[in-house]
């Protein structure tokens, strides 16, 4: 589907010839060229508008993806619970669409008001795609409204196929919208299709298809699903905690589990999408890459490590709590501590910095810029090893969870289990050897290159183990049924932690994406000469992100509340005239 969308996006631009006589040049600005309005800090205004828009946009792009998948599963299994859950997901998020649009409008207005010359330049370069972008909202609205409002009308047989097609179209349009917008912001980071002075002479496709366009496209599609899943999971968690009655608890427990499953499945490949993005940043400009990972933004990635560690620990904790739904899980409890140990240890490795910023006394006391023993854990091979292990052991938690209420009935149980253990042992050994040998006994080229077989090992282990288990548990006996609703309340707090951490992390990453441009509106081409052109400290950035998260969560609460309100009814006594 991505390919279809990609072609749709590319066709108009690659087929059309460059317009005759197009010439968009970069102006030279001074601080007085930037409007000051009502004492508002322009940068913070645009920053918050953009980030809020991005959070909502990510959410409304993600929901149709997993709603479509869940609806399809429902059609395939003919289990209506899936159909109803899919509908509930989209119902919950419907208000989010208008909020996304409102915030998009706010962002656009802020950009034009506070940065008029920049927008003149960008609209000059991207006039066509911006025009298509605006028109596409008609398609988005039509598909969304018919898909949602027609859910219970388009049921059964051909009508269901039509409905599914609408879902697919909704996803295609949404993705296309994102691809177009991604072109504008990645152009600002890694401009293409313009000469060294930034003059644009009509190469629209060149401007769109810049270095970072596809890496951002990939990263955002996957990250949106992870983020969206976590937000819906938070909704389910809230409904679970305020449920009245066993049935409601069971329903929302199930919903939370599915939302978490979606979020974690999308989380697992995310580090690699991020790695690819960073590799492309290095390809585009070594300077930018070094500033990102080894310069002023280096410590930001330690904050990121803390956030990601939180995500993995919360996700695993939720799974371990969930094992309590079935008595059959007791036999697996002893393994949890080992998984927990590996995950926490990996997190600690990931969070260890390499080069420390030290005063002269600290430098003398430490005997160098790196800690004698721990410093070596700060380099990339150690981090890659740690993240691969975290992902692998999360997969183990999943495997155990899925097995907890079943007893296999096939004849080759012993063999199957032995194979599984052998697979994991071999895989983990390979990851460790790759990380340690190439990481500490070779050179930079090998170190970087070794990360690829490491990640492929993880993927191979996950795929093969899933396949083995699915065959192993074919026709399995349910030992002790999964009792939906039978989870401790603290498991739901793990879901809230997941949603908050995901949101905050996304805000932090939004900052780095924009901040890496430093004093440029468009890197190396259009200089930012406003008073806010300086790069702020990380603490400042974290504060702005935090404020954004609070505003976002408040708006999300509103979205969820509204989805309930339409079914509330009041019957005021004696209010209405009787016939």
């Amino acid at each position: 589907m991505m390919l279809v969308v990609f072609l749709l996006a590319v066709l108009p631009f690659s087929v059309a010839e460059a317009a005759e006589g197009v010439q968009v040049t970069v102006p030279e600005l001074s601080s007085s060229d930037y409007p000051v309005i009502a004492g508002v800090n322009s940068r913070v205004a645009v920053w918050l508008a953009a980030q809020l828009h991005l959070w909502f946009a990510a959410f409304v792009l993600a929901v149709p993806i997993f709603v479509f998948i869940i609806e399809s599963i429902g059609v395939w299994t003919r289990d209506q619970r899936y159909d109803e859950m899919a509908f509930e997901f989209i119902k919950v998020s419907i208000t989010a669409y208008s909020l996304t649009a409102i915030l998009g409008g706010l962002l656009a207005f802020s950009l034009f008001i506070f940065y008029p010359q920049l927008m003149t330049y960008l609209t000059g370069v991207f006039s066509e795609s911006m025009f298509y972008y605006a028109l596409l909202f008609f398609a988005e609205s039509v598909t969304l409204y018919v898909y949602y409002y027609g859910w219970h009308w388009l049921q059964g047989g051909d009508k269901k196929w039509i409905h599914l097609t609408l879902g697919l179209l909704l996803n295609a349009v949404g993705t296309l919208l994102m691809l177009l917008a991604n072109a504008w912001l990645t152009f600002m980071m890694s401009p293409n299709g313009v000469d060294t002075a930034g003059t644009f002479t009509g190469d629209t496709w060149g401007a769109i298809h810049n270095f970072l366009w596809n890496p951002i496209n990939l990263h955002r599609v996957v990250a949106n699903v992870a983020f969206g899943g976590s937000v819906v999971g938070a909704y389910a968690a809230f409904k679970f905690l305020s449920a009245s009655g066993e049935d409601e608890r069971a329903h929302y427990d199930w919903m939370g589990y599915n939302a978490n499953f979606i979020a974690i499945t999308a989380l697992l490949p995310l580090p690699f999408a991020g790695y690819y993005l960073t590799a492309e940043i290095y390809e585009y400009s070594q300077q930018m890459g070094i500033t990102l990972m080894g310069g002023v933004f280096a410590w930001l990635f330690i904050i990121q490590a803390v956030l990601i560690g939180t995500l993995f620990i919360a996700a695993n904790y939720y799974l371990w709590c969930g094992m309590g739904r079935s008595e059959g899980a007791h036999r697996y409890y002893p393994y949890i501590k080992y998984i927990a140990f590996v995950i926490v240890a990996s997190f600690l490795v990931w969070f260890t910095p390499h080069t420390l910023v030290l005063t002269n006394e600290e430098l003398k006391a430490l005997g160098g810029p790196y800690h004698k023993y721990l410093g070596s854990l700060g380099i990339m091979p150690a981090k890659n090893t740690a993240v691969n292990l975290m992902i692998l052991f999360t997969a183990v938690s999943f495997l155990i969870y899925r097995r907890s209420n079943k007893l296999p009935t096939v004849s080759w149980v012993q063999t199957g289990n032995a194979l599984q253990i052998a697979l994991f042992v071999a895989g983990i050994a390979n990851i460790l050897i790759l990380g340690i040998y190439y990481g500490y006994f070779t050179n930079t080229v090998y170190k970087v290159a070794a990360s690829i077989p490491q990640v492929l090992t993880t993927l191979v282990v996950i795929v093969i183990s899933t396949v083995i288990d699915s065959f192993l548990y074919k026709g399995a006996e349910e030992v002790a049924p999964l009792r939906w609703g039978r989870v401790p309340d603290r498991s739901q707090y793990a879901l809230f932690l997941l949603a908050v951490a995901f949101t905050w992390l996304m805000g932090l990453m939004g900052y780095i994406r924009s901040g890496i441009r430093q004093h440029w509106h468009v890197t190396d081409v259009f200089r930012d000469n406003s008073v806010d052109a300086f790069t702020p400290t990380l603490g400042y950035a974290a504060n702005v992100v935090s404020i954004g998260v609070v505003i976002f969560m408040a708006m999300v609460v509103f979205v969820f509340w509204i989805s309930q309100v339409s079914s509330k009814k009041s019957y005021p006594e004696g209010y209405w005239k009787t016939a």
Partner: protein
């Protein structure tokens, strides 16, 4: 409602933990302010001023003197262009498309491999590839006007008549990465410190000549495993006084300027980093 308040409280707590960690748990590095820009009005310039501008860019933003200098060795001197250019254009090994001195100079800056002077090519390429970067690219980033200013300077310093015209429509900017004072209360005139040895290596351009980190400079010794053969003391001396001990097979051409460009703690950080390259 209680549930909602409990959850809201929990979420606010988590957010404040992340914010607190970001403010107090990590060093608050104040990034260097944006480099100051000098806006130059070309329309009112005479040729002498334009040539001086070219010389200034040649010595600062262009980073030309890093390699093109009298210590000799890995980049040809540029004061004899009048004598050599026409022969080079006729040379069988010439891969470019310039027809005159001005075009040749511009081409050398934008596509340095179009002609590589014998003995100055990248090691192992038989003088087919130049180690010089395209001056329009990222970290140097010369504009067309800045390039022309350098052309004017080079023509003039080679004793030729300056045959170009001062560009008129382009308002040119010569960005001078100065050390702008950071207002850290009482410190006065101090730039923000480098955060890592890798940043020093990248910013000071070590990779232009050396193989180090991910750079593939082909002019000086390969430093990727230098910690195996040199200790910290030796490395420190090599940075501060590069010509005191020259590695066999290389010539004395590393500028002795880096000691003045680093704070003592940054020098130590760099030395420790290089000593750990094993």
């Amino acid at each position: 409602m209680t549930q909602f308040l409990k959850i809201a409280g929990f979420s606010l707590l988590v957010i404040s933990l992340f914010a607190t960690y970001s403010n107090l748990g990590i060093p608050q590095i104040k990034p260097a302010p944006p480099p100051s820009q000098e806006s130059v009005d070309l329309s009112s310039m005479d040729m002498d001023s334009f040539i001086s501008l070219g010389e200034k860019i040649y010595n600062t933003k262009g980073t030309c003197t890093l390699c093109h200098n009298e210590l000799g060795g890995r980049a040809p001197m540029l004061d004899n262009l009048g004598e050599v250019v026409s022969a080079r254009l006729e040379d069988a090994g010439y891969k470019g498309s310039a027809a005159n001195v001005v075009d040749y100079i511009v081409e050398s800056m934008n596509e340095p491999s179009a002609y590589v002077v014998k003995g100055f090519g990248k090691v192992g390429t038989n003088d087919q590839e130049s180690p010089m970067p395209d001056v329009r690219s990222g970290s140097i980033g010369l504009s067309e006007a800045e390039t022309l200013a350098i052309v004017a300077f080079l023509q003039d310093s080679s004793g030729l008549d300056v045959s170009i015209e001062i560009p008129s429509n382009v308002e040119e900017v010569a960005e001078v990465p100065e050390e702008v004072p950071v207002s850290t209360g009482g410190q006065g005139g101090q730039r923000a410190k480098y955060a890592s040895a890798e940043e020093i290596v990248a910013t000071l351009g070590c990779g232009a000549c050396h193989k180090i980190a991910e750079f593939e400079g082909a002019i000086g010794p390969d430093l990727r495993l230098i910690g195996q053969s040199r200790d910290a003391e030796h490395l420190r001396q090599s940075i501060l006084d590069p010509n005191a001990d020259i590695t066999e097979g290389f010539v004395a051409m590393m500028p002795p300027i880096y000691g003045d460009q680093l704070f003592a703690s940054e020098l130590e950080m760099l030395v420790e980093y290089m000593a750990s390259l094993k």
